[in-house]
């Protein structure tokens, strides 16, 4: 009853093609943004900002990037972390080696560098498909960190291979406190999410989906497969690159090549799939789920054990956490193979009908 679009008429195609044609959604989004930009920095604790919200946003961005590639263009990639590494180390080196380099430009350049690398590693996708491609992208996942460790120049010859990021200053304003860094990340993520939404509703996005759903038909329609796939790799890697730079600059403060390992790639893939493949919002839902759940479980299991008076053997909490985490992934996929975003959509469809069953 509450979620009805009845009575909302579109007088022009322009309106109908707006990002959120339904007014309830629009209002909801605006509320969320207001909350994110104003309420959170005021009220959230440092713990929430640094340990939860900033990583959540950074991972959302990476998941968004992967979702463009995997969810929209249909190219399964397991190399996300490697492209993030490229972004992080590119930003570091731009800041280090180009005098007076504005940090925002460094971030953009890190994205562009990652895009270039992404396109190079995307070339095999012109011939290889599906799981074969997924495994082949592991070549990037292993090669890039190896290269970063091997070539000292990338880490400015740091003996441990760890780089410590330069302070983030924009127009003399230093982003040093958690809330400032949070706002910086939030702004970048919001802008890039908007861009992503625009891309996927444009001709390019449709070309991606066409290639994903049936590449022969797409080609027959006149879509250049080569161009479409490579742009997908480029754009996706751009997002991952910027996410990598933010991961280093706004989240951890120091990173090493080995930190961008296969585990990270997989975490981001989980986010995409749990959240909803081929959905912008899904990337955020997935990132929230995968970032928050382990923390929640960690705390919850301990508390629950304390309340029940159980004395859990040390380390058992982590094992239980692993079990529950795996179990929940399975559960959600069984309930809705298309992810949380789809679940949300179905809920909306039900709300629309509510209180009538059909």
């Amino acid at each position: 009853m509450f979620y009805r679009e009845a009575g909302q008429f579109k007088a022009s195609y322009k309106e109908d093609q707006a990002i959120l044609p339904i007014s309830q959604d629009r209002v909801g989004l605006i509320l969320i943004l207001i909350f994110g930009f104003f309420a959170i920095p005021l009220f959230a604790s440092d713990y929430w900002l640094t340990a939860i919200l900033i990583p959540f946003l950074v991972f959302s961005l990476a998941a968004l990037g992967l979702n463009l590639l995997t969810g929209y263009a249909g190219q399964l990639s397991l190399g996300t972390a490697a492209f993030m590494a490229v972004g992080a180390f590119a930003a570091y080196n731009f800041e280090l080696r180009v005098p007076q380099m504005p940090i925002l430009i460094s971030f953009i350049m890190s994205g562009i560098t990652a895009a270039a690398v992404g396109i190079a590693f995307g070339i095999p996708s012109l011939r290889i498909r599906g799981f074969y491609l997924a495994v082949a992208t592991l070549a990037a996942q292993f090669f890039i960190p190896w290269l970063l460790v091997k070539v000292g120049w990338f880490t400015n010859y740091s003996s441990s291979g760890v780089i410590t990021t330069q302070p983030v200053t924009i127009f003399g304003f230093i982003f040093d406190s958690p809330s400032r860094r949070y706002l910086l990340v939030l702004s970048i993520v919001v802008i890039l999410a908007l861009v992503a939404k625009n891309l996927v509703r444009s001709n390019l996005g449709r070309a991606w989906m066409a290639v994903r759903d049936m590449d022969v038909a797409a080609e027959v329609i006149g879509i250049s497969i080569v161009r479409t796939k490579l742009i997908a790799f480029g754009v996706s890697s751009f997002y991952c690159g910027v996410a990598g730079a933010l991961y280093a600059y706004a989240y951890l403060g120091s990173v090493e090549p080995d930190g961008f390992n296969l585990d990270l790639s997989f975490r981001i893939l989980f986010m995409v799939i749990i959240g909803g493949i081929g959905s912008i919002m899904g990337s955020f839902l997935g990132a929230a789920f995968i970032t928050l759940l382990p923390i929640f479980l960690d705390i919850f299991i301990n508390e629950a054990a304390a309340i029940l008076g159980l004395k859990l053997a040390a380390g058992i909490t982590s094992v239980i956490q692993l079990l529950v985490f795996g179990g929940l992934i399975i559960f959600f996929l069984i309930v809705e193979p298309l992810g949380l975003a789809r679940l949300w959509q179905i809920t909306k469809e039900k709300l629309r009908l509510w209180p009538f069953p059909h």
Partner: protein, 274 residues
């Protein structure tokens, strides 16, 4: 709903079923139909009327499409079957030929046919004989027996799908649009096969078909679906003479068959139910 012909017992009894996909999409809104042993029943109706869904509800392939029967029941030989797995149904002799040529692309034509006999535990010799029988129905398949089914032509795939079902030696076949994509000669042949099986081996058929003309020609009884409901049923001969059926499904007006060139630009959309 009683059938006219005095043929055999009720083999399949679908009683007032409702089908919902994805928990929200209501597709069948109370369908009841009956099929007597040894008869051929045709399901007719426009695109999206719910023919395929009805067949899948019987064969229980619905489950794998996130659809479910939420009301009513389906009985086969007197036993409820909504909860049985498709393979249990095949063992009981109910086989569906799916719409749209679902063959196994990486298996050869012959392997495809052999999978049809999966549930039968018979000797190689018997299988061989059965294969030969299918090949005599579809000589074209014999030529292509060694090629992967994915590379065969649309019509050939359709033959594979039908041939595969025959290999199960079923007692009831749910045939979904068998004529689709087949050359006219072959359509006749397929329906001849249906008839032969029906008469000689007492196989019953539930037939979803767009080619109303042929379907009514070969079936004993027909149901017409619109929008998930049955709007008309009757013996095939009666239906074939119904003026509405004639107009909407047979393309015949009172003046006889008209040319496709003379179709109206914007048709009058008469429907029994909105």
């Amino acid at each position: 709903m009683q059938q006219d012909g005095p043929k055999g017992n009720v083999l399949l009894d679908i009683n007032n079923i409702e089908v919902i996909y994805d928990h929200v999409i209501l597709v069948l809104r109370g369908i009841s139909l009956q099929l007597r042993e040894g008869s051929i029943v045709a399901l007719l109706g426009a695109n999206g009327a719910g023919k395929t869904t009805t067949l899948k509800a019987v064969s229980n392939l619905l489950q794998s499409e996130r659809g479910e029967v939420t009301k009513g029941y389906i009985a086969y030989k007197g036993d409820r079957i909504e909860r049985l797995t498709p393979s249990a149904l095949v063992k009981r002799g109910v086989v569906q030929v799916m719409e749209g040529r679902h063959c196994f692309p990486h298996l050869t034509v012959e392997e495809n046919l052999l999978t049809g006999a999966y549930t039968r535990k018979v000797s190689g010799r018997v299988l061989k004989a059965d294969l030969e029988k299918v090949y005599t129905y579809f000589p074209r398949l014999k030529d292509r027996r060694r090629s992967q089914a994915g590379y065969t032509s649309g019509g050939e795939q359709q033959m594979v799908a039908i041939g595969r079902a025959l290999m199960a030696m079923p007692t009831m076949i749910l045939l979904d649009e068998p004529s689709m994509g087949l050359a006219p000669q072959l359509v006749e042949e397929i329906f001849e096969i249906v008839k032969t099986l029906n008469q000689r081996e007492k196989v019953s058929f539930l037939l979803a078909e767009q080619n109303t003309n042929v379907a009514l020609g070969y079936s004993d009884y027909g149901y017409i679906l619109e929008n998930g409901r049955i709007v008309m049923d009757g013996s095939s001969a009666v239906l074939a003479n119904n003026s509405d059926v004639k107009e909407f499904y047979l393309g015949l007006s009172t003046t006889g068959r008209k040319s496709y060139r003379d179709g109206k630009h914007y048709r009058r959309r008469k429907r029994w139910l909105a």
